[in-house]
Assembly symmetry: C2
């Protein structure tokens, strides 16, 4: 028997929330960061390694999986979780964000979006109903409503029109969603940077009723300050008994600021993508391991980090792996970055529990400003 | 206190030998297969995964490591084993084979070989003394003598001249080798496909005295039949109290045939390189996982295999990973292939122990001939 899908708000530190999201496939401690496994694989990582970083849920992309290997094939192989041997919960996006980014390769109307595959040029259709059905075939623990990610910048009337379409699509997405114990569906708040539109969107979504609410259309070029302002004006109107997920965010400082504004869940390709290019996140800011100054450095990337890269390997060796294009280099740096993100979330959760988030955040910014450890 | 470097011959089944090679960093059950970690990383594999395949020793390439990151840098980082977090023994080749393959980019005389780096065009010198010193800096558990890998085909007089040079170099290599407890050095038998030259080479190497003897200059284009003939004529003259290592070999059937002719150790890039291109070794022959017939197959690559790829993933998923260029695909197939090789060596050892090698070999060839399991 699967656990019910439910959110527990444990405590608050000002607007920051400590919680737990229960799903049929495991508990997620919030604030939580979800690593991205676009095509049913967290690039360069075995699922056992993803678990070791501390991740409790991962995200896959409907757009990529519907094109390859295709939703029916994924279903035949047992769904994304079984197929990729991921035992925990899985969130899938709706495909909306990716098809919007296709630009001239897609056309949108009330019904949905027609687009051309970036793989073979074939035509495909996504509607709220189709997206929801595909996510069911992928066996998503958390299904996202199909929406239009409003481009930035947008005038207020453009943003309103787009948000209203997304709300009609949210209603159709909810109708198409087949409820099962342990599974849930999230609606997505739109409205660009206009607080009145965000409020209107929230009210509409509350009316429909979802197991959680995401904030979409941010981190699309508006900058951190405006993103924070929008969050400040948005989250107080969101029901406190359901999880709040800020989509596609972000840098460590984005996450810290968003948690302070009441957000519970995050996802971003940054730790994985940066890991593959040699960029490492540390307590002291980012480090480019390809830099020649690391070549003879016997010290770990960050002696306080618990990942296998920091426990067992020197900066000099990591540098060598990147210079020699060895696959193990990107695995180790991805592993490190995902561990950094999970340890950050863990510190955030501990700080909220102790009512010390402000103190943590101020020391976080101070360390980040110090820069990398000095050369040997 | 390190264990002495010594070889124990446990039993024989006709000419096949069951043994154990003790080193300062662990025991190697023979016949043994050594995975290749050219640039101090078994491509796509964490060292913990290499251990899980059953490998007890790995090989790294002096040529690659001397150019990048360089022997002094490796020494500062603690040697290859410490640098790459490999706890077991390490064998390094002498660089001779790789510089020979450079063709017009190298010049050879009595003193050694001058060659141009394939990385940056810089000039480098390898001599028996320099190669041995570099291997010391790499902290090789087993150092190889510097030799000329005689090109194939070679006339008898060309082969004799080349072998004699290698024997003078073997003497200089031995002189340059600093003996340490737990470490050893192997000489390399040359002489192309000419039994008298092979015998002459063996006698010279025995005179010098090494902790083990390799057979070089095979698997260079002469074909399996002539390789087996040469082995048949060569190994009976090699001292039985020392390990025998056939360099750069090979396909599973090469290994099986060479074991029957008295060889104890092997190395080859085949399982790792094939894994990266989607070619899998199985009991039923090789399988190309990129083939469309696997796309919907929920069965593992080989249900009898104990690797994580076969225990936890379907052929359909492996196929998807390769089609989507996901790194995890090549990791899983490399892991599988290395496991296949180690399980083959394990079966060979068990069969020798029970005096049943011939029976094993005949069922091995029968299964290989059957071809892959039928389509669903």
């Amino acid at each position: 028997m699967l656990t019910n899908f439910k959110f527990e708000l444990i405590t608050q530190d000002e607007r920051a929330r400590l919680g737990a999201l229960y799903t049929g496939f495991g508990r997620i401690d919030t604030p939580a960061f979800m690593p991205v496994g676009t095509a049913a694989s967290v690039k360069g990582m075995m699922p056992e390694a993803v678990v070791q970083t501390g991740a409790q849920i991962i995200l896959s992309n409907t757009y990529h999986l519907m094109l390859r290997p295709g939703p029916d094939r994924v279903e035949r192989l047992g769904g994304v979780r079984k197929m990729m041997n991921w035992k925990g919960p899985l969130l899938t996006d709706s495909g909306g964000f990716q098809v919007m980014s296709l630009g001239p390769l897609r056309t949108l109307d009330e019904h949905g979006v027609t687009f051309k595959s970036h793989l073979d040029g074939s035509y495909h259709l996504l509607t709220p109903e189709i997206s929801t059905e595909i996510q069911r075939k992928l066996d998503a623990t958390i299904t996202m409503a199909f929406d239009e990610c409003t481009p930035y910048p947008a005038t207020k009337s453009q943003a309103a029109e787009s948000m209203e379409l997304s709300m009609r699509w949210a209603e159709r997405s909810r109708k198409a969603f087949i409820q099962k114990q342990g599974y849930g569906q999230f609606g997505i708040v739109q409205g660009s940077v206009y607080p009145e539109l965000r409020l209107e969107s929230i009210q509409k979504l509350h009316e429909i009723g979802f197991e959680g609410y995401a904030i979409g259309g941010l981190a699309v070029g508006e900058g951190q300050e405006l993103m924070f302002e929008t969050l400040t004006a948005t989250t107080p109107h969101m029901v406190s008994s359901k999880p709040r997920y800020l989509m596609g965010v972000g840098k460590p400082s984005d996450i810290v600021g968003a948690v302070m504004r009441g957000v519970d869940m995050f996802d971003c390709v940054l730790p994985t993508r940066s890991g593959r290019t040699g960029q490492a996140f540390t307590r002291f800011g980012t480090v480019n391991i390809r830099n020649a100054r690391h070549a003879d450095d016997i010290r770990p990337l960050d002696e306080a980090c618990s990942c296998t890269g920091c426990k067992n390997y020197s900066r000099g060796y990591l540098h060598h792996l990147f210079k020699a294009d060895e696959i193990q280099g990107l695995t180790l740096l991805t592993w490190h970055n995902l561990t950094y993100y999970q340890e950050l979330m863990n510190s955030i959760r501990e700080s909220i529990r102790e009512g010390q988030l402000k103190k943590f955040v101020s020391s976080f910014y101070q360390l980040q400003a110090e820069g990398d450890i000095p050369q040997l």
